[in-house]
């Protein structure tokens, strides 16, 4: 398996409280990997460790290694010599609640990531912004309101705007934290279709509450419980022939 991210012995703390225990996991390139598990099992924390966002919380701590085998970066992202800001530029993140910048226009919400990455050519920015909005299946809906505030869109549109923002600067990995949990079924299905389309170009790691969603779109699924990785397998295998009893009980709805 060609892994773009190899997580080794990852531990994480919220202040004094340990929330991740010795996670070892390989994330396959150009596939969708879903992370499922009951609330509070550490799924989101795990995701936020992959782009070094977790450590920004006051008192938070991370120990372990995450090897990133990217085009512009190869090595352990937790190496003390590595600049976390740089790492975050190789990864895009989409959050649970849509969070477009309300003081920026729809257009600038997408363009801002390019500006951070040092792209100054206006023509090039314009091209990438339009292309990203198109890829996020949003362009047709917003082409007349590109200069309105990002907050003026509907919830589902806002989330697709956030996806456009996250893919605009061409990251290699997309980290998604329950991106559809705040959306209605139609918006959810639009985003799911979009993700299947996007995995041709990006590696996607998606945290989801919704097992059906994992079953529908993920190539690989990881089941976490109480801060530990219980099982990781191709999605079909995990759902049809789980090896661990906890996994089986969770996916059959006996607890969770």
């Amino acid at each position: 398996m060609d892994a773009i991210l190899s997580v080794r012995n990852l531990n994480a703390w919220y202040g004094e409280k340990q929330v991740l225990y010795d996670i070892n996991l390989d994330i396959p390139r150009y596939h969708i990997t879903a992370i499922i598990g009951p609330s509070g099992c550490g799924k989101t924390t795990f995701l936020r460790c992959l782009n070094r966002l977790h450590e920004l919380g006051q008192g938070n701590k991370v120990k372990g290694e995450v090897y990133f085998n990217g085009k512009n970066f190869k090595g352990n992202i937790y190496d003390p010599k590595v600049d976390a800001t740089e790492i975050r530029r190789y990864m895009g993140m989409v959050f649970q609640k849509p969070n477009p910048f309300p003081m920026l226009s729809v257009y600038d919400n997408v363009a801002i990531g390019l500006k951070i990455n040092g792209i100054k050519d206006k023509k090039k920015i314009n091209e990438i912004v339009m292309n990203s909005l198109k890829k996020a299946y949003l362009l047709d809906e917003v082409k007349d309101s590109l200069h309105k505030s990002g907050a003026s869109l509907s919830g589902g549109q806002q989330q697709r705007l956030c996806i456009a923002r996250a893919i605009a600067y061409n990251p290699e990995v997309l980290l998604m934290d329950e991106p559809t949990s705040a959306l209605d079924p139609i918006a959810t299905s639009k985003i799911e279709q979009l993700l299947v389309e996007l995995k041709k170009e990006f590696t996607i790691v998606i945290v989801t509450h919704n097992m059906q969603q994992a079953a529908r779109i993920a190539d690989y699924t990881a089941f976490m419980y109480l801060g530990k990785l219980i099982e990781f397998a191709p999605t079909e295998e995990l759902f049809e022939t789980p090896k661990n009893e906890l996994t089986e009980r969770y996916i059959t709805g006996k607890f969770g």
Binding site: G92, F101, A166
Partner: protein
């Protein structure tokens, strides 16, 4: 369901107390306003806005230099005070885990409650009389051709004392505005690979810009009407602004000196000065607020 009549009665009593308290509190406020407007308008003339003061009894005197002085003092105070206030506010809000934050917050809180005359006497001693130089055992400090000595009563000393008043007001309101920026917005910026400083200055401040501008207006209207620190630092002047190190006039000083003068015509001018000051503050607080809300809302 029917509300028991006793409860209705209590409700009525409580509401009546609130209304009476409101009316009683409004009487003096309305009175002041009406008094200033009536006296101000009856003494108003265009020459007041264009002419320099003349001695009592000589017709044609104006208060133009005081208007100019207040604008200059407030502008320089903003140039000095606003950046300091902004940076302190950013520090208090965005670097909460820093060891110095509790100390800075303590000083800001104390300073915000400081009587303005104490700030005035401080600037008077340190800068106007120049005791800061005595600390170093010299009369003045020269860097090349520029020599700094005791400032004397001057526009600059006055602006500095107003800036000192402004800093805690601005920094507290900036801190509060920045605290209202949702974490999710900051995280969105950080996840894009923005550095922490850039997130603060291009995302948080831009998100909180309405609050920050309102903080600035609040501080402006507070310092525009201050007389006490100016009495100790600029002393006032009957002439146009002639330099940062010269004395300068200001509307609150005109109100003070003319208001207690024995001459009828000067007292009338004090009313006009009051009216102008109140109009300026009302304009800042109502007009600009509406404008900012419209212009910067999203």
């Amino acid at each position: 369901m029917r509300i028991p009549s006793l409860r209705r009665f209590y409700d009525l009593i409580f509401v009546s107390i609130c209304v009476i308290a409101f009316i009683l509190a409004m009487i003096p406020l309305a009175w002041i306003l009406i008094e200033i407007i009536i006296n101000g308008i009856s003494a108003f003339s265009i020459q007041l806005l264009t002419n320099l003061p003349r001695p009592a009894g000589v017709p044609g005197g104006g208060i133009a230099n005081y208007i100019q002085g207040t604008i200059i003092l407030v502008a320089i105070a903003s140039l000095i005070g606003f950046p300091f206030g902004l940076f302190i506010g950013v520090f208090l809000s965005e670097f909460k885990e820093h060891k110095l934050v509790p100390i800075v917050r303590f000083f800001v809180d104390v300073f915000a409650e400081f009587p303005s005359i104490v700030i005035g006497i401080f600037v008077y001693v340190i800068l106007v009389r120049g005791e800061i130089f005595e600390l170093f055992g010299v009369q003045s400090i020269c860097i090349g051709a520029i020599c700094l000595g005791p400032m004397g009563f001057s526009a600059l000393a006055g602006s500095i004392s107003l800036a000192l008043l402004m800093i805690p007001i601005v920094s507290k309101s900036v801190e509060e505005s920045l605290n209202l920026v949702p974490v999710s917005i900051k995280e969105a910026a950080l996840a894009l690979g923005m550095s922490r400083w850039r997130t603060v200055f291009s995302i948080s401040i831009s998100y909180a810009r309405t609050g920050i501008l309102l903080a600035y207006i609040l501080a402006l209207s507070r310092i525009a009407g201050e007389a006490a620190p100016l009495l100790l630092t600029v002393l006032g002047s009957y002439y146009w602004f002639s330099g940062l190190f010269d004395r300068i006039g200001a509307l609150p000083l005109a109100i003070f000196t003319y208001g207690i003068s024995p001459f009828e015509d000067l007292r009338a001018q004090a009313w006009v000065a009051s009216l102008l000051l109140i109009l300026a503050i009302l304009f800042l607080n109502i007009g600009l607020k509406i404008l900012i809300r419209r212009r910067f809302a999203w």
